[in-house]
Symmetry: C2
Subunit: 365 residues, 2 copies
Amino acid sequence: MLHAVIMAGGAGTRFWPESRVARPKQLLPILGGRPLVAETAARLAPLVPPERTWIVTGREQAEGIRAACPEVPVERLLLEPCGRNTAPCAGLAAAVIATEDPEAVLIVLPADHSVRPREEFQRALRAAAAAAAEPGALVTFGIPPTRPATGYGYIRRGEELPPLEGLRRARVAAFTEKPDAERAAAMIAAGDHLWNSGIFAWRADTLLEAIDRHLPDLGAALAELAAAWRRGTAAFTAALDRLYPGLGSVPVDVGVMEKADSGAVVLETPFHWSDIGSWQALHEELERDSDDNAAVFPAGGDLLTLDAGGNLVWSAEPRLVALLGVEDLVVVHTGDALLVAARDRAEEVKRIVERLRAEGRTELL
Amino acid sequence: MLHAVIMAGGAGTRFWPESRVARPKQLLPILGGRPLVAETAARLAPLVPPERTWIVTGREQAEGIRAACPEVPVERLLLEPCGRNTAPCAGLAAAVIATEDPEAVLIVLPADHSVRPREEFQRALRAAAAAAAEPGALVTFGIPPTRPATGYGYIRRGEELPPLEGLRRARVAAFTEKPDAERAAAMIAAGDHLWNSGIFAWRADTLLEAIDRHLPDLGAALAELAAAWRRGTAAFTAALDRLYPGLGSVPVDVGVMEKADSGAVVLETPFHWSDIGSWQALHEELERDSDDNAAVFPAGGDLLTLDAGGNLVWSAEPRLVALLGVEDLVVVHTGDALLVAARDRAEEVKRIVERLRAEGRTELL
C-alpha cells in the first residue's frame, strides 16, 4: 500500500515574528489558506487517504498538528522527543509502518513546501509509487530549475530510465549541495541538473536496508524502536526517549541517498515547487498586484498603496496597512511584534531571533 | 492682566493613522509625554495660570481637551461650531476676554508646537507681554532660522526697537509666505529674516481695533458675539451657531498683521521651535540613537534594529518593532492601522486620508 510520511518537525525562525517555537512555519497559513501541513495532507488525497498519512513532528507541536489536520488519526502521529534531521525521521516512519505493512511504499515529504497544481503533484505521486516499487529504488523528486537558485541543492541526471506517467526518470549521477552563484549558473547552462525538492519515495524495507548498510547505528536503533512499537504506546515512547537523543543528526539525502549508487533514482516532476524558505521566497509564491505587492490578511484587513512596489505585507490581525513611497520591503504584523525588513535581507530575520534569545525575551521566541 | 489663548482647532491629517478627526494632533502625546495641548498649557505657568488660560477648539474636541487639560476651568473653553482659521479664532477670544478684562494682554499660540527650553519661552513671554502693552502693538514671535526651510513663513526685520528681557525687537518690514528653496536660501543668506512662529501677543482691544479696520465684517460679528457672551452660555452658543459659519476663513497674519503697518512688531525669540508639521518633522524633534533612529512607545514597547538607520517608529501599543536593513522610513502602528512610509514623503499621508475619505472608510478617519 502507498503511505505518506509528512515530515513536520523544525521550529523555523525564518518567518519570525509570525513563526514561533510553538507555532512553526508548517502550522502557519502562510499562503493565505490553511496551515501548510494541512495543505500538504490535503494534496495527498485521494491517492493517500488520511488513515495512511503519517506525520512525524516534535511533541511540543502535536497539539497544533492535530488541530490543523483533524482528519489524520491520532495514532498516525509520530512524536520525536527532539529533532535529528531527516534520516532518523524518515527511518522512524519506515520502521513503524513496516511493522504494520511490510510491503509499504512511502512518499516522504516536508510539511511546509508550496506545490501546485495539485493535479501535477498527483501525477508525480503515481509515477513515484510505481518507481519506488522496483527493487532497491530510492526515488527523489527533481524539479526542473527556473533560475540559478543558490538556496537549493541540485541533482545531476545520469542514465535515463523509461518514463512513468509521462514523467522523465533517470539514475542520480550526483547530488550537489547549495552552490554559489557561478556554479548554479553553470548547472543551469549544462541543462542536466534538477532542484532537489526533499520529496522522496521508497519501499519501507528498501530504506531500512539502506540505513542498515550506510548508517548502522541508526539501523540498530530503528530495529529497537520497531520492536517497542509492537509492544504499545508506552513502550514506544520510552524507547524514543531512550534512543532518539543519541542518534546522529543526518539528512536522508546525505546519509542514505548519496551512498545508494545505482539505487538512487530521480523523477523529473514539473510542478511548481518552492520550499518557501523566507519571507522573500513567500513574496514570490503569492499573487501580486500590478506593482508587485503581495499581501496576506485575515478578513477585514487590507492593503492601501501609494507609489509603493515590490512589498510583502503579512498581518495576523485585520488591519489597514498603508504603504507610501516604499519599495521591496517585508512588513509583518502580529499581535505582539512588528517586523519591517528589506525584502532581500529577509533571510536575516534569524539574527533578530538570535538577539531576542540572547536577551532572554522568550515570550517573543 | 496677561491671558493666554491656545488655538487648538484643526483636525490634522498629517499624523494619520495616529491622528484622527476626533483625536487631532494637539491631543496626541506626540513627543512621548503628555498631549501637546497639555504641554502647551503647562509651558505658560506661572506667568499665565490656568484660570487665565483660554482654549479655542472645535466642539467635537471639547471632551478630549478637557481630559488633556483638567486644570483649565471649563468656562475657559471657547468652542467653535466650525473652523474658520486664526483671525476669527483670535478675534473671538479677544472679544470674549475684553468683556471680562478690558485691559487684557493676550499671548496667542497654537496648541501643537514644540518649544524648548521652557525657561527661554518664559523669558519671551515676559518680553512679549511688555511689548504688547505698548499702544497699537501687534507682536509676533520670530524664530532665528537654522536652515532654509520651505515649510515655514518668514518675517523680514525692519526698524530696530529697544530690546526687552535681552531679546531683540524690530518693526516688521514684510511677511513672506512659504518660499521656494531658492528664495529661502536667499533669505537665510541675507540674515534679516526670521521664521514666522504663529505665536502672537497683543492687547485684546488693539487686536479688535485692527480687526474693525481691516476685517470689518468679522469685527461686527465679534461685537455681536461679545454681547451674547454677556448674556450667558446659551445666548453665546446660539450666536456662534448663527454667525460663525458665515465668517471668512482668514489667517490672522494675512488678515491683520500684514496690514498693520508700523504696529506690527517682531520679537526675536531664540528658543527651539518646530510646528511639527509631519512625521518627518517629528523625527527631527525626538531623541535619536546613534543610527539616527527615533522611537515612541508606551511602556512595554521597544525598538530592535539591525543595520537600520534614520527611521521613526511610533507605536500606540506596546510592541516589539524590529527593523532590518531599512533606512529613512516612518513606521506608525495604531490599534487599527499601520503606516510604512518613506520619511521624506511623510507629508503625503494626507493623500492616504483623502483616499480613505473617498472610499467612505470613516472608521479610519
